[in-house]
Each structure stands twice: as structure tokens, then as C-alpha cells.
Symmetry: C2
Subunit: 327 residues, 2 copies
């Protein structure tokens, strides 16, 4: 990602930081057992955009004066949020029966659900262990809260699978919990560790949470509309697993009669092409996309003034990418 | 369990402590979402012997003078180790396709693997969050190490399923990691929080680890020999899932020709009755049981002098129960 950033001192600091975080991540997961290492090396191949660690580092640098460095705790938090994210990917792939992730095979596909369950547990455990290495109880407490909330979001989503009455408010509540709180915490903790004010920390958390919600809507759209070759992971999982996503919810709420019925039937029959046709015709796909764009605009409007040169532009650029991405 | 303890002030303190730990456990898991609470209430029904929290409390009281109280951190650690244990039960039941636990249905049987995976994650996350509430980074770091080790043990065990060459050393290494370190940490941290010496802490950790290993051998024997009605959970899971346990390993190592072959064939065919016959005849079941008893005797011999009246007797009694139990 850093290659696409403008060529300046900030970009260099972020690239250096991400490289340190990668090393920290890999070192944390080094085991005395080859069987465990082999699985962790596989998971490291899932590493992609590094959105969450990037946000920790950029948020930290944004509230640090030019020439000042990040704290070692920034790297630890960046590694921890990425490891939590990886654990959720491994377990989500079990929940979704997904076979492809980052253009490679998933752990559950390659090694079975049992190994994927336990590998995800190993990643969660290591995430908490890595976080504990910072020696700051407030970090452990906050990230524990975040993962509690994340799991609650997943459990509520599971309890509403195949439930055609799922409304917009509940959808946003689930998404906030399962996706947005972690992204929000990345921004919040990066900012907090840089010694920013309470108002700056709160504003950055809100920025991150908005990015997280928009990110999830874009993920939903890619799952509905994308093809595996471009997206690089199994798609059509939401329909297959009975997860109602925003375009479906908007269509059901704002259409009547035959149009509404056609969507319900396509969802029930897990008929992706039919669902795409009816949601496109009704404008529900465009409406969901517009919602994601509006949330990103909200995020950008609420972004506080930062201290370091170029950092605000970079945060705005990261926000734009959330809805522009094709994978 | 406390009802079976001698009627004295120590027993009363333990009973009061376990009651506080139950409240802490239930409060920690209270969610704003009924769907989440319902699942947690189900898990609370798994609560049985409370071996691990009991060991935290007894270890703490053993190194506290008569009349002195435990610290609030004792309750937090006791609740945390029990919650970690519950998380492993929920995920183990997924790995083992188990249908019965504590005479009730498992979460995976009732609600599917997906919900069980996510509920286990919620329990792990809450365990770390509960631990973080103590505000002591050393506790987080130690328990993070413990759960890393536990998951490694499970991953190594999974990698050796259906592997008839699994030897005794590797078996004990797996058991130490997946079961014994958590029991050892319960004793270690209970003792440490009471302000005991480094030698006392180390001795109590070794005591707990020995109990954990003996506990696992007894579990293996119950899985092989017990019936579901008595044990209260699905049995025969080890054979079904290709997990070689100590009686099988001892038989394969110490028998030749037709006797050895008969066991290998029974394991391959997952034929429980045939396996029980051949392992009984060769004395391998008795040998495994004798090993568990010897480990408990080792544990008892290594038990340090304690400070509080009756506490040493109680620890010895808890050690005896590990191999005497039928469920």
C-alpha cells in the first residue's frame, strides 16, 4: 500500500512502521512446533491492505510533531489489531465455508474446520499476549472490550441468519460491532498513544468507526457483485449463508408487490444472478453504495485537524479508498 | 464440591469464594443482546467440578495466614481460568463432534458449529477482558502465555490425529500443553497473589501441572471405558477422532505380533469393544491408570508446606480425587 502513498517523510515513516509491525507479527507467532509455524506462515499470506495497522500508525503520526517518533506501543497495538483481524478472517472462513482468501486456499479448505478453529484461537491468544507485552493494563482492557463487542456482533448476526425481517437499524448495529469497533479502536489508540487530547481521540475513533461501517458495506457489495478472480476470495457467501446485507434490506424496505417478492424469492432460492438483476433494477445497489459514500464523507468532515504535515491528506485518501476498492 | 469438604473455616472460605467467582463469571458474560445471554446461560450449565477456580482459591488460602482474606485478584484469576476452560470445552466439542456435555446437549449440537465457534471466541475474549480488569499486566502476560501454549498443544494434537507412530514423550508434551499448563497456572497464580516465595510458587505450579496431566489420563480412560450416562458427556470421541491416548500408546509400544496388530486394527476400525478387550488383556489400561496414580503421588510428595490450617490436607484430597473420579 505504501508504494501508492505520496513520496514524503510521512510515507517513509509509515512504510518503516509497517515493516516493523510485520516483523513483530511474525516473531510473536513463532512456535517450537513446525506444524504450528506452517499454519502461521499460511495465515501471513492473507496479509493484504494492512488497513488497521496502517490506521494505528497514521493516527499516531498525525498527532506527533514533525521529527518526533512513534512509541513502541504503537507497533504493538498495530500488530495486535492485525492479529485480531486475522483471527476473525480464519474463523469467518469456517462460518462461511469459504474456500478462497487472498487468491489462495483457506485454512479450513486445506486443513479442515478443526484446524481452522484452533488456529483462530491461537491467533486470538497471541493477539492478547502481544498486547500484554506493552505492559499497559488500559490497552488490554480496551482491546478486550473491542473483541467482546466484535464477537457479540457476530453472534447476533448468526442469530439473524435467514431472517428476512432484519431491518436497517439492526444491520448497522451488527456492522458497527463486528467490523467498525476494531477499525475505530485502531484510530483511537494510535491517537491516544501519541498524547492527543480527549476530543481528538474521540473524533479519530468516530472517523475509524465510520470507515469500518463503509468498509463493511463495500465488502457486502463485493460479495454480491464481484467475481472471485478480482476480489480474490470466495464470493456469494452472504446469500449462501442467509446473511441479509444492506442492498437487500433497502430493497425489501422500499419496494412493494412483485418487486419485493422477486427479491425475497431470489434470496430464498439463493439465486445470485436473479437477486443482482432485481436489486440493480430497483436502484437498491446504487442506494447501498451511496450510503457507503455518504458515511465516508461524514468521516472526512469529522476528521480533526492534525499536527504533522500531509497526515490529514493521507487520512482523507485512506477514507476514499475504502469505497473505491475492488478487492 | 464444597459440600464434600470437611466442615471447617477453610471450607467455608472456599465455598464463599466459589460463590463470588460464579457471580463474577455470570456478570462478566452479561450482554445487551438476549441471543448472546441465552447462549451464555447454556454454557453456565456446563459448570461442574470447578477444579481450576477451586485450585486458585485453595492455593491462595494455603499461603495466607489464618484469618487473612484473599485478594480481589484471586477471584478474577479464578473466574478467568474457568472461562478459558469453558471456551476450550465449547471448541473441543466442535472438534470432537460431541453431542452431550454435563448430561445436556452441546452448543454445536443444539445451535450448529458456527454458533459454537463464535461463542467460544466470545468466552476467550471475555476471559482476557475479565483478567484485564485486575489492572496487573503480569497476569495478562502470564495467562496469554498459558493460552498460547494450550492452543499449540491442541494444534500439535490435531496434526497427529490418526498417526499410529505417536510416542509416549509426544503424548505427554501434548497433554502438558493442552491441559496441564492451565491447571498449573491456577495453582501458581493463586499462590503468587498470596505473596508466597518463589520456591513455593514454583512447587505449587508443578503440583498443578502434575494434577493436570493425571486429570487428562483419567479423562482418556473415561473416554475409552466409561458410559455416557455415568460420565455425563459424549464418550468414545478419541477413537472416533483418531486421537491416540496413553493406554493405546503403551500397548503399541510394549506388545508385538498379533497382540499389537489387534490393537492397531481396532483403532483403524474404530472398534471400541475390541480395543477395550485387547488393551485390558495386555494390561495397558491398568498401566495407564497406574501412571496417573504415580503422577498424583509425585504431585503429593512435591507439595510444599502451607501456612493455613487444613489447607495441605485439602490439596492432597483434591489430588486424590483427580484419579478417583468417574465423571
Amino acid at each position: 500500500m505504501s508504494a501508492a502513498f505520496p513520496d514524503n517523510a510521512l510515507a517513509a515513516d509509515i512504510a518503516a512502521g509497517l515493516s516493523r509491525v510485520e516483523t513483530l507479527f511474525d516473531t510473536q507467532l513463532t512456535s517450537a512446533f513446525p506444524a504450528v509455524n506452517e499454519l502461521c506462515r499460511h495465515v501471513e499470506r492473507y496479509r493484504g491492505k494492512m488497513l488497521r495497522p496502517t490506521l494505528v500508525l497514521v493516527s499516531g503520526l498525525a498527532f506527533t510533531a514533525d521529527g518526533e517518533s512513534l512509541r513502541p506501543e504503537h507497533d504493538i497495538v498495530a500488530g495486535t489489531v492485525e492479529m485480531i483481524h486475522m483471527a476473525t478472517l480464519v474463523h469467518d472462513d469456517v462460518l462461511d465455508d469459504a474456500e478462497v482468501r487472498r487468491r489462495g486456499e483457506t485454512v479450513n479448505f486445506l486443513r479442515g474446520n478443526e484446524t481452522a478453529v484452533m488456529l483462530g484461537d491461537y491467533l486470538i491468544s497471541n493477539a492478547f499476549h502481544l498486547c500484554s507485552r506493552a505492559g499497559d493494563p488500559a490497552l488490554n482492557l480496551r482491546l478486550g472490550e473491542v473483541t467482546n463487542t466484535l464477537c457479540e456482533g457476530e453472534l447476533v448476526q448468526l442469530s439473524r441468519r435467514h431472517d428476512l425481517s432484519l431491518d436497517e437499524n439492526t444491520y448497522f448495529e451488527i456492522v458497527r460491532r463486528k467490523t467498525a469497533v476494531l477499525v475505530g479502536a485502531a484510530c483511537e489508540l494510535g491517537t491516544k498513544l501519541a498524547g492527543a487530547t480527549a476530543a481528538e481521540i474521540a473524533a479519530m475513533r468516530a472517523f475509524g468507526e465510520n470507515l469500518g461501517v463503509a468498509f463493511q458495506i463495500q465488502d457486502d457489495l463485493l460479495d454480491l457483485l464481484g467475481d472471485e478472480a478480482t476480489v480474490g476470495k470466495s464470493i456469494g457467501r452472504d446469500l449462501e449463508k442467509g446473511k441479509l446485507t444492506l442492498p437487500m434490506i433497502l430493497h425489501i424496505a422500499h419496494n412493494q408487490g412483485a418487486d419485493r417478492l422477486a427479491a425475497l424469492e431470489a434470496i430464498d432460492a439463493k439465486d445470485g444472478p436473479a437477486l443482482r438483476r432485481v436489486l440493480t433494477r430497483s436502484g437498491s445497489i446504487d442506494a447501498a453504495r451511496a450510503r457507503a459514500v455518504a458515511i465516508v464523507e461524514d468521516a472526512k468532515r469529522g476528521l480533526p485537524q492534525t499536527r504533522r504535515a500531509h497526515s490529514r491528506e493521507l487520512l482523507l485518501e485512506l477514507a476514499n479508498r475504502v469505497v473505491a476498492r475492488e478487492s
